[in-house]
């Protein structure tokens, strides 16, 4: 859990001092607002959480900040805690997101994650757009000694996916991981390409457990909401991979996202090593914020 203590270091400077206050007064709430907004929760989610917290404090007749701390944690955990159905196999995971959030890196780490669980894995390099994206994924595939299906740069991404699925079916591979090109959510053509890839998977493997994950950069602010909205509209996302939590950003925008739609965080990326991807645990995440 080294990573959660890292978050703590950065964040506790503000939230820790908030709860050392003597009274639950205006100043306390102002400081709390500051702390939450600084963690990228956004104005709306922050005010929702604070309202909820105020009510509960009143309900339980809590007067002291030190007694209120667990209550706030509980409220925050509840707002991002979801029941997630366990994987069944064959499993297909499609990873999407805007440019530079770390999709390829996340795929490389996901591959290792499943391999460590004794699963057979094949990677599909469906980012045929960015220069050298397939080469980058090849390095990750080599690191875990896994198969990679790739085509020429600039070729049809859906065709790569089709080949990868065919290969997986032929060899009885349990996990297919699909890397896609980064696209800003307002780019129509690229978003259409993503819809096409999605159709190929649904058509070719209707029986498989198919999950679609959007990768978010924890450094991103409120635009992450717009990213989720746009991608969700195209391919109905199942979850979030929250990357780059090893920096000083806290990824609080997931609270803002949860306030709008039910979309759980599944994994978080906490470094550049091949094992630096861990299943998301809401309680640890919130604990780390305090």
């Amino acid at each position: 859990m080294g990573f959660f203590s890292k978050i703590k270091e950065a964040f506790s400077k503000t939230i820790y001092t908030v709860f050392t206050a003597k009274e639950l007064d205006d100043e306390f709430y102002e400081d709390l607002e500051y702390a939450l907004i600084s963690a990228d929760l956004g104005a709306e989610a922050t005010s929702q959480i604070i309202e909820n917290f105020k009510e509960k404090c009143y309900e339980h007749k809590i007067k002291k900040p030190e007694d209120a701390k667990e209550l706030l944690k509980q409220i925050m955990v509840e707002s991002i805690d979801y029941e997630i159905e366990p994987y069944s196999y064959p499993l297909i995971i499609l990873v999407a997101g805007v440019n530079g959030v770390g999709k390829t890196t996340a795929i490389g780490k996901l591959a290792r994650y499943f391999k460590n669980q004794g699963k057979s894995v094949v990677l599909a390099a469906a980012d045929t757009f960015r220069a050298a994206a397939a080469e980058q994924l090849q390095v990750w595939a080599d690191r875990s000694d896994l198969r990679l299906i790739k085509h020429e740069e600039g070729s049809d991404a859906a065709a790569v996916v089709y080949d990868a699925l065919a290969s997986a079916k032929a060899k009885g591979t349990e996990v297919v991981l699909i890397d896609t090109a980064g696209r800003l959510q307002n780019k129509k053509n690229l978003m259409n390409e993503l819809a096409k890839i999605n159709r190929v998977v649904e058509k070719e493997c209707p029986e498989a457990d198919y999950r679609t994950y959007i990768v978010l950069d924890a450094t991103t602010g409120q635009n992450a909401i717009s990213q989720v909205e746009a991608f969700d509209e195209i391919i109905d996302m199942d979850g979030i991979i929250l990357n780059k939590l090893d920096g000083t950003a806290r990824g609080g925008v997931v609270f803002a996202i949860s306030a709008e739609r039910e979309l759980p965080v599944i994994f978080c990326g906490v470094g550049e090593g091949v094992d630096d991807l861990i299943p998301f645990n809401p309680k640890d995440f919130v604990d780390g914020l305090f």
């Binding site: 530079g100 770390g102 050298a132 800003l184 959510q185 602010g221 090893d246 920096g247 950003a249």
Partner: protein
């Protein structure tokens, strides 16, 4: 985003109780600033920066005269926008060229901010300006980063120097020799993305600065960055003393509040913006555009300005009265057309108003050629017909078409359009009552 198109509406609500009283009062300013504050936070401007900004603008706005032709909402937006623009600094997109070549540009930033792509874009721009740039691959960590720079370089038509994954100090040293040999006058050094708290990697890049004393050290920042932008910018600036900032991914729908935060904590100029996926998609930085983007007001101010220039107060009032009383005639329509010519077309105007484009669907299409035809048709009508288009029968239409060198269909189309325009104006009027125009017709 929804939150933003409604800022103006929220402000209008704040001011709905007062009609142009001449001065903004403390209370009104305070209420307006509450909305501005939320707008800025939703745009990811840093909390502290917002706080300071609001305090300083409140002081400026209180007691300010409301300019003629503006309502209080517009007046507050105008002040806020001016202050934002001023904070954003001037337009300074010059690359500092070394007196003795080569000029060294060192790129730095977090992972995924877009450094490699930006190297290609800068190289392309400089090549177009007649320079002979050389790209240097010093991202020795990310898999295939070197390959990516090579591809980007070939798209830009700019050579790339690489030595594989060895010490960047050695790479740059050799690259400078190569540049001298090939007479490259600018050397752009791509580096690995790094966290500002990663001491080892920060030492590495500080070492490059120390050894080679670059003319430009550009911090590349993703415009979607949230509250953490201040920490990143502060630390990079502290270690590297950057000479400027480059904002990337501005072609998305981000509001880009990070720009203001970075500017506030570093005081360094924002020099360029990445605005697309093509190699030529690089723009110099315009503070005023960035300000209205952060504020989420589209170009409302542009409209306010244009409106003030094209219409005198008197004319605007008369026109407004005509809309209200629905006595708007084809003569007025013609006048309207002429005015619009001086402001840009209707579509464009509608696009500039946040939230309006969705409400007024694309049923008002007016192009320049059609304008001329329309003018001919109207001028072929009698005065009575112009005043009351309902009088026009099919026999009249035949005459009008012949007189204007058009067809009956054209005449019908115009009449239909006129009816639509009338309807839209009344819709705008209604919007104005609760909406952002504050009851004032936009032009």
């Amino acid at each position: 985003m929804g939150a933003f198109s409604s800022l103006s509406e929220k402000l209008s609500h704040v001011f709905s109780k007062m009609k142009n009283k001449g001065k903004l009062t403390d209370l009104e300013v305070k209420q307006a600033m509450r909305e501005i504050r939320i707008a800025l936070l939703e745009a990811d401007v840093n909390f502290d920066v917002v706080k300071k900004f609001i305090a300083s603008v409140s002081e400026k706005a209180s007691g300010e005269d409301i300019l003629k032709g503006l309502n209080p909402t517009q007046q507050v937006i105008k002040i806020v926008n001016e202050e934002l623009t001023a904070l954003m600094g001037g337009t300074n997109s010059k690359i500092d060229i070394a007196p003795k070549p080569p000029t060294i540009i060192l790129m730095c930033g977090l992972q995924g901010s877009g450094k490699t792509t930006m190297c290609g874009k800068l190289g392309f721009m400089l090549r177009k300006q007649g320079k002979k740039p050389l790209l240097v691959a010093c991202d020795i960590y990310r898999p295939a980063a070197i390959k990516q720079l090579q591809v980007v370089g070939s798209n830009a038509g700019v050579p790339v120097f690489e030595m594989g994954q060895i010490d960047p100090q050695k790479i740059v040293k050799e690259a400078l020799k190569e540049a001298e040999k090939n007479q490259n006058d600018i050397v752009i050094v791509d580096t690995a993305g790094r966290l500002q708290i990663d001491e080892k990697l920060m030492d590495e890049i500080a070492g490059l600065k120390k050894s080679f004393n670059p003319n430009e050290i550009l911090l590349v920042v993703d415009s979607m960055t949230g509250q953490d932008a201040v920490n990143v910018a502060q630390k990079f600036n502290e270690v590297m003393d950057v000479t400027g900032v480059v904002l990337t991914k501005l072609d998305g729908d981000t509001r880009g509040g990070a720009a203001l935060s970075i500017r506030a904590v570093t005081g360094k100029p924002i020099k360029f913006c990445g605005i697309g996926e093509k190699i030529s998609d690089l723009e110099i930085f315009y503070p005023d555009r960035m300000a209205s983007r952060i504020l989420g007001m589209g170009d409302v101010l542009t409209i306010i300005e244009k409106a003030q220039n094209a219409y005198s107060e008197q004319e605007a009032l008369e026109m407004q009265k005509k809309f209200k009383e629905n006595t708007f005639t084809l003569d007025d329509y013609l006048v309207q057309f002429e005015k619009m010519k001086s402001m840009g077309n209707m579509q464009q105007m509608i696009q500039m108003v946040p939230g309006l484009a969705q409400r007024v669907k694309g049923d008002v299409q007016i192009d320049e050629k059609q304008m001329d035809r329309t003018k001919a048709i109207i001028l072929s009508m009698t005065k009575k017909e112009r005043e009351n288009p309902d009088l026009i029968k099919s026999s009249n239409k035949k005459r009008i078409a012949a007189g204007s060198g058009t067809t009956i269909q054209d005449v019908n189309q115009l009449l239909k359009q006129f009816a639509q325009m009338r309807e839209m104006m009344s819709r705008l009027q209604n919007m104005g009552k609760r909406g952002f125009m504050g009851g004032r017709f936009p032009f």
